[in-house]
Amino acid sequence: MSDNRLFELRHLTVRFGNDLAVDSLDLHVDRGETVAVVGESGSGKSVSVLGALGLLPTGTEIEGERRFDGRDLGEFSSRQWNALRGGRVGFIFQEPMTSLNPLHTVGKQLGETLRLHQGLRGQAARRRISELLRQVRLPRVDELMAAWPHQLSGGQRQRVMIAMAIANDPKLLIADEPTTALDVTVQQEVLALLDDLRDRYGMGLLLISHDLNLVRRHADRVVVMRHGECVEAGPTTDVFETPQNAYTRQLIDSVPAGRPLPVAEHATTLLSADSVSVTFSRPKPFLRPRPPAFVAVEPLSLQLREGETLGVVGESGSGKSTLAAALIRLLPASGEIHFNGQRLDSLSGNALRRQRRGFQIVFQDPYGSLSPRMPVADIISEGLRFHHPELDESNVAERIIEALEDVDLPPDCGHRYPHEFSGGQRQRIAIARALILKPRLLVLDEPTSALDRTVQKQLIELLRDVQAKHGLSYLFISHDLAVVRAMAHRILVLKEGKVVEQGQCEALLEAPRSDYTRALIEASSLT
């Protein structure tokens, strides 16, 4: 093959004991090229690359030919491995929060890599560090060198990670889900930076991602993986425009589509909030005046009609979850809240608990929101048993089955525990738990963000069906406008606790009035 070939895997197989994690994978990266490995969680995309570079725990069996820059990796000694990793191959991991050591300053951590691989010390090292930080376009470089990781934002930390990865002029840069933990608006900047660095230094870039939008824009070639096998590989445009494999087609098609059913003409208002705001008081420092309270949500008003979905969008920290929690009285808030003609904000204790069955919430994390120690039937029926103690066992069992059928789960799975279900199924259980109380309003707090695209799409379809069947109103919170467009009638855009704009979904997406909304739309690749 050509001299241009940088990294090559042939028939790579990775085994954990008896489990086959990667089955005979072929992959190659040329200089100056971006290759993307895509697949859903558990498809073996990270494992294959980490395994090939010897970064998996001992006891993992790795077979197949691995070549880097013309040399066989299978014959490397441990010293050569160390020179390779961090030297000629740079890594960027998913979690910028945990991949920096919190006990060392940014400068020190960067200096360490330089000292180990290039023997740079003192002034020379300082010069190189500031140069690197400037290359990843970080502001106020001198201040930043003395900063601790916790003082940086997620995007800044990821940039520091990138600076570390390119510190030793690697030939190959491996980015394992580099933007998944970042805000949508920051994602684009980080990827643009990676593209730029690749072009400038002629590196090979191996991008591991589940996000097809991102891959489509940034990769030259794509390898699609499923269950540890390569399903399809080829140039990005070919794979996306004429996918050969049904699974690839399904992945590409799984961008949420469709629109919600229109709301009835004379639907009554179900929920109305009048200048609701949430503030958190800050602790008073000793002998100094108390600092002003932190305003998480500035006073805002909203209305939600029967059968209508209001999408609340914004990046993390914009106060959208706080707003939702405040509206259903899980957080103290000021302002007036009316639900179904009754004033909610003045209720407390038992009166409030009785009202709660009318409005339910589904949380983002399908792993955290179900008690791991209870079987599914108990989880689902818990609220029902409390609110309707008059129901006997057979009635409760009937309602459980009804709720499970509503969310397309087999009715006999009630005795299983949550850990036996996949993320998407758990989210269905969480929805069933809410639906069994026959609520009129469902608050969905990023219900699809932790799920794979294909599962996400199914869940959105399910939610629309449930809405049509029961005439529910949704308050739908998300940072992903592609999902919101498929769900919401109206949209409210939040930034730092303030309403940036609001309006009918279509109209707002077509003609956004603020740059912030435009950035969100751009990030969601709604074209």
Binding site: Q360, I361, S371, E382
Partner: protein
Amino acid sequence: MTSSHRWRLSPITQRRLQVFRGNRRALWSLGIFGLLFIFSLGAELIANDKPIVMQYDGHWYAPLLMDYPETEFGGFLPTTADYRDPFVYDQITDNGWMLWPPVPFSYQTLDRDVRGPVPSPPGSRHWLGTDDQGRDVFARVLYGFRLSVAFALALTIGSIFLGVVIGGVQGYFGGKIDLIGQRLIEIWSGLPMLFLLIILASLVEPNIWWLLGIMLLFSWLGLVDIVRAEFLRARNLEYVRAARALGLPSRLIMRRHVLPNAMVATLTFIPFLFTGAITTLTALDFLGFGLPPGSPSLGELVAQGKNNLQAPWLGITAFVTLSLMLSLLVFIGEGLRDAFDPRHILTASQVKRPVAPEPRIPPDSPRQENLP
């Protein structure tokens, strides 16, 4: 609740059991301690100054269960028969037979026939010798062990109840309740327990219930911090928030969703409570402020050993008993702590067989099944 599958062990419990079973020292300690405790529960059958069953004049008697007057066996006094009295003994053996426990002395039996001065050294009559009042040391150790463990058990259960309730309320509600509660507990824990016990011992006749009650006033303090921290953490878990959104009342949420989390920390703390209770009881008895005189107590044995250095079997017996009991408990505690430590790595010997993956229910949608 409805589920008929309650009995199924969750995988996390299975893993804990596996880790505990893999720790051979803890497993053996638990076995030995359990045996000893069961053994000591039958103390009346092993060491007693009454026969277990007897026959006299063709009638059956069970002196262990019932008191018979001496006149029944040809004696003169209408008091409870003393079967060790030579006259009664001869009367019964002449007209029937008696089945004695292996050690024919109870913890408070004064052996008047002992040869030589008391404390008398170990021998065939007294396996571990006698103390300075001529009482059999083996019998006293046996009853003393039982009393210590029972006392510790009662104290531990009581402390867990108080500690979990108080810590749980503070942690779950937080805010002012937590703040005020913590300050009150700080004041309360400033009270010197030992002095309070000694003062109270001079006011009332201390019996085991008094001691239990007074020690219970203080022993829950250590548990509160742990339980409170667990509740503080757990109240913000998403499934707890989901339960609040369901409209469940606080007591239900605490019992069903938060408590199981806090129980892990509590269970790990139990062995420490247990050993602490035994040590405190022994210390009080040693000082003479504990159980009423005559009770079978390990602390009193330690005191006797100190006062009778010429009789080393007293001190040695007390030392061996106490160190054995406390070491076993510490080993069990270690095993428990490891079993509940999520970061504890299973060693190869602990993983006997790879656990087969749980059968999964069909994938998310039938659509995926059509795919290659």
